[in-house]
């Protein structure tokens, strides 16, 4: 066992862990951050996606000990003072969730995409979220949600291709 200290959504958390623990288990089981979902356990579905030091990673493929001294952000960390982020509101408005199991990962990933690239083309959206799967098939609603946030952000510019193909 060793002690690790990880800043999760701005709050420093210390826990004793074993070297073979996954970051996914550390977040879900030790810290009870339950928006981080465990599904495939092998880096395919992307539902355990979190931000580690500002980069999206699949937490089932990261050791908890690797996060020692680093910063983790989950979907809980993107709302501002209790007000939902624009992409969260857009997900609600467009019904971009059916069962909702994958939604935290999609919200986090599209939030990050729009932060780094406010006007993504459809190809860029597909590429950036290529590691995520939605089994209910809400991809078109997610497209619409991203397109709405993209269109509302300044400077106003038409996306290169129409995002909302539906």
């Amino acid at each position: 066992m060793r002690e690790v200290s990880v800043t999760v959504n701005g709050r420093a958390r210390k826990r004793m862990i074993k070297d073979n623990e996954l970051l996914l288990d550390f977040l879900r089981e030790r810290l009870e951050v339950r928006s981080v979902k465990a599904a495939c356990w092998r880096g395919e579905c992307g539902l355990c996606t979190v931000m580690l030091d500002g980069h999206l990673v699949k937490s089932c493929l990261v050791l908890a000990v690797e996060a020692d001294g680093r910063e983790v952000k989950t979907v809980e960390g993107i709302a501002n003072d209790g007000e939902l982020a624009p992409i969260q509101k857009a997900f609600v408005a467009h019904g971009a969730a059916q069962c909702g199991f994958c939604t935290p990962a999609w919200v986090l990933a599209t939030h990050e995409l729009l932060r780094t690239n406010p006007h993504p083309s459809d190809a860029e959206l597909v590429e950036a979220t290529g590691g995520l799967i939605c089994r209910c098939g809400t991809y078109n609603q997610i497209r619409e949600a991203v397109a709405e946030v993209s269109a509302a952000s300044k400077p106003h510019r038409q996306p290169r291709e129409s995002l909302a193909r539906a």
């Binding site: 996954l22 980069h55 493929l61 050791l63």
Partner: protein, 289 residues
Amino acid sequence: MSFGSPYTTLPDFEYHKPTSLEEVLGLLKQYGDEAKLMGGGVGLIAFMKERLMSPGHVIDVKEVKELKILENSPGNGLSIGAAVTLSELLEGGVLKKDYTVLHEALAKVADPMIRLRATLVGNLCEAIPWVDSPPALIALDATVSIAGPDGSRSVPVSAFIRGPVDIDLGPSEMVTAVKVPHAKGSQSAFEKFTGGSEFSLASVAVSMSPGGRNKRARVVYGSVNSTPVRSAEVEEAIKDGITPGSIRKAAELASEKVECVDDVLASAAYRRHLIKVITTKVLRRMMSQ
């Protein structure tokens, strides 16, 4: 590899995070067979979950400064340290111009989140028959730099991969870098067919040196056999230039001569068909460039 295994935990191990190459070699000497090196961990963590590997010691080399080196110069070519990630390689733009075949092979590996952590050396060392980097590296005449208790040595990638999941590396040795000779003015491209799955069912890597006396072509097929397959017949067919005629001939020869295997992913006959298609596709693209 048994997919859909119930394993969601990792075997017990001790985690080490050295910061220098000397430290890594010391740990390898101490633990030998008991230790596994971890770059991005993408492969190792998956293997450990499947209990295909249960190392007592995991040595994380991400912070080893000597392994973070990524250099490109006309004299020495491209040197890719063992801890350089696929994202770093792709985003640096270093591959796009002179090492196109490698750029095209890596740009389609998994997804951006995986590429952020996975390393080229890790990808290569897994020596899984359907990974895309080995054929591209062999087409570029790349070599593997190895460090160990008895000093350093260098092996061509084609010889380094001995068989499926079998590489020329001793228990106390490690791959420090992959070196690719400078390929200025050469033309290269990569094509694969995945059938919509995550695995290549067939891939082809082509590299052509600029014309003149030392003209040479390399054509390497991946995912069709247990190790990448070079085809001298196809190379001969396109050596003097890529034309509609030589493309037709190359595609026929490829389908006829390249040895393909039957496995759970595809039959040999289907692979021979795919080889014809991707050979035509890749060469047509090169012809029009």
